[in-house]
């Protein structure tokens, strides 16, 4: 793969022409992304009498909104941690097996399943573990207090796309662990445990951390799955924003919804700020 053109003399087009070619892109982004983002920031800081203030932002981290924000963070952190662990185990099981076919099958399935989100996923779980779901009725789970429309039901559902996402993230890093490193460690008298502590995990760490925040962000931003499945019985920030937008709450809450959106952007920005550098770092070992 070559990066950057070979340095040989060419007729240079005027730079302005190139920037002109990018103009439509900037226009679309400005119109469909910049304008809404500005409107969000403007609305979030606009208080009752039309002046600017922190009222909405303060309210967005208080009371029921605080519960929803914390609920989202809790759900995302829990599912991201579980997804990281399970994804790592699954990826290791596949990478360390000799069968190429198994490896290909799992990686392809992961690519496909990581996309399994939103409405279809919600309905697949409703059909399986919902009130009239196949497993619920055949195993009598309802009598034992199982409910899909809860925090844990949602967590179980989210793992369906988070685990494959982790497998995709961490499999290349596991591939990067050379057999020679393990042999070298063993020849120096290191136990398996020491090998993982001093070689394996340090090399994997950027991928694992990067994967964790990616999973966190993915679960945090999810709306369709939760909306189609639980309605608003589990307090989540996306569901709260949707409620406020569709006027299901007191009038005048739109600006609080915008402030909540701003909170989400801050969290998502933090996630990307951690993920992107880690991703870049982890690719160093994979060359």
């Amino acid at each position: 793969m070559t990066d950057g053109p070979a340095p040989h003399p060419v007729r240079r087009r005027p730079r302005a022409g190139a920037w002109l070619a990018a103009l439509p892109l900037f226009l679309v982004v400005g119109l469909a992304f910049g304008l809404p983002a500005l409107a969000m920031a403007d609305g979030a800081f606009t208080v009752a009498d039309g002046s600017y203030g922190l009222d909405n932002v303060t309210r967005s981290v208080d009371g029921a909104y605080r519960t929803a924000l914390l609920g989202s963070i809790e759900l995302s952190a829990l599912t991201a941690a579980a997804g990281t662990l399970v994804g790592l185990l699954l990826a290791q099981a596949v990478v360390s097996s000799r069968g190429r076919a198994l490896r290909e099958a799992v990686l392809t399935a992961s690519g496909v399943l990581a996309n399994f989100g939103g409405v279809p996923l919600a309905f697949a779980f409703v059909a399986t573990l919902g009130n009239a779901g196949v497993l619920t009725t055949s195993l009598g789970l309802g009598d034992r207090g199982w409910s899909l429309y809860s925090f844990w039901g949602l967590a179980l559902t989210y793992l369906y796309f988070l685990v494959p996402l982790m497998v995709l993230t961490v499999a290349p890093a596991l591939d990067g662990l050379r057999v020679q490193w393990r042999e070298a460690a063993r020849d120096c008298g290191a136990s398996t445990w020491r090998y993982w502590c001093h070689v394996g995990l340090p090399v994997l760490l950027p991928s694992l951390l990067g994967g964790f925040v990616l999973l966190f962000g993915s679960a945090f931003a999810a709306y369709a799955t939760a909306a189609a499945m639980v309605g608003s019985s589990v307090p989540l920030v996306t569901l709260q924003i949707a409620d406020a937008l569709s006027g299901n709450v007191l009038v005048g809450q739109e600006n609080v919804a915008l402030a909540l959106s701003l909170d989400m952007v801050v969290v998502a920005a933090l996630v990307m700020a951690v993920h992107l550098p880690l991703q870049r770092r982890s690719t160093r070992w994979l060359a």
């Binding site: 730079r15 920037w19 990018a22 992961s110």
Partner: protein
């Protein structure tokens, strides 16, 4: 990993990932009191709203693919060709949408759409605001989807451009007397076929499954229709979900196959495809 550990992990994963799919199939064909029947599936095509919402989704998908390629391809090629300083700018602009979750983007869009008619009711722009929200074909969704698709369309194009020497191609075409547009269309684009296909498939899958923006802005493409239909007929909605999954998966598998054929096996070069496929999923949930 311990000798027993690997089969156990694979078995548990297999159960977890297969059971919901199998159970969904059972749920749709085994109806209490009726026994095995395919009626959930045969009913789909006569269900009210099905055709309309599906056509709307397909139309939106085609329009979004066209728009997003139309704006990103010239920018990416130009950055590659003659404005190296444009590249980091593009990178940032195309990554930014990842920072704003779809719900938040919708909140902002909704504000703009409300604000527009209020402030601009006396100007011709008012008509524009009405037009972009036409329920028969909401252009505002095309714009929103184009923005949501940008991150992975850019990645796909960037990967494609990296493997082609655009400058030599263009120079050769120019030396043969081709005009700039012609050099682009007949020399550069054919070499980017894989990347363009990639980007189009991913955008298509995104738009067909998108629920958040459309439902919150009050439009009814396919995913929103499924949820609405579930209120009166749960089996129908599960059946449609399974079919739409099948469709998306066929699309994505086709994409992976195309991607694989274009690269030598066993290189890390294959992962960007999967990673961008995975990243895309993020925006549809």
């Amino acid at each position: 990993m311990a000798r027993l550990g690997r089969p156990l992990v694979l078995l548990l994963a297999g159960v977890y990932f297969l059971v919901p799919l199998l159970a969904s199939v059972v749920f749709t064909v085994d109806i209490p009191g009726q026994g095995l029947t395919l009626s959930s599936y045969t009913r789909i095509f006569t269900a009210p709203g099905f055709t309309g919402s599906l056509l709307l989704s397909l139309g939106l998908a085609v329009a979004t693919v066209a728009l997003v390629l139309l704006v990103t391809v010239p920018a990416a090629v130009a950055a590659r060709l003659s404005a190296p300083r444009l590249r980091p700018v593009l990178e940032v602009v195309c990554t930014l949408p990842l920072v704003v979750p779809p719900v938040a983007l919708t909140a902002g869009l909704g504000t703009v759409l409300r604000w527009g008619p209020e402030k601009l009711s006396t100007t011709p722009l008012y008509q524009t605001f009405v037009a972009v929200q036409n329920p028969d074909f909401p252009l505002v969704l095309v714009l929103a989807y184009a923005v949501m698709a940008l991150p992975f369309v850019h990645r796909a194009l960037d990967a494609g451009l990296r493997s082609v020497d655009v400058r030599t191609l263009v120079e050769a075409a120019r030396d043969c007397g081709a005009s700039w547009p012609r050099a682009l269309v007949s020399a550069v684009l054919p070499n980017l076929r894989g990347a363009l296909l990639n980007a189009s498939f991913l955008t298509l899958a995104l738009v067909l499954g998108e629920f958040t923006v459309a439902s919150l802005l009050g439009f009814q493409p396919f995913a929103v229709w499924i949820v609405q239909a579930s209120g009166s007929d749960a089996r129908l909605s599960v059946a449609v979900s399974l079919l739409s999954l099948l469709l998306t998966w066929v699309l994505l598998l086709a994409l992976t196959t195309v991607g694989n054929r274009r690269r030598t096996p066993r290189t890390s070069g294959r992962t960007p495809d999967r990673a961008s496929v995975a990243l895309e999923g993020k925006t549809t949930r």
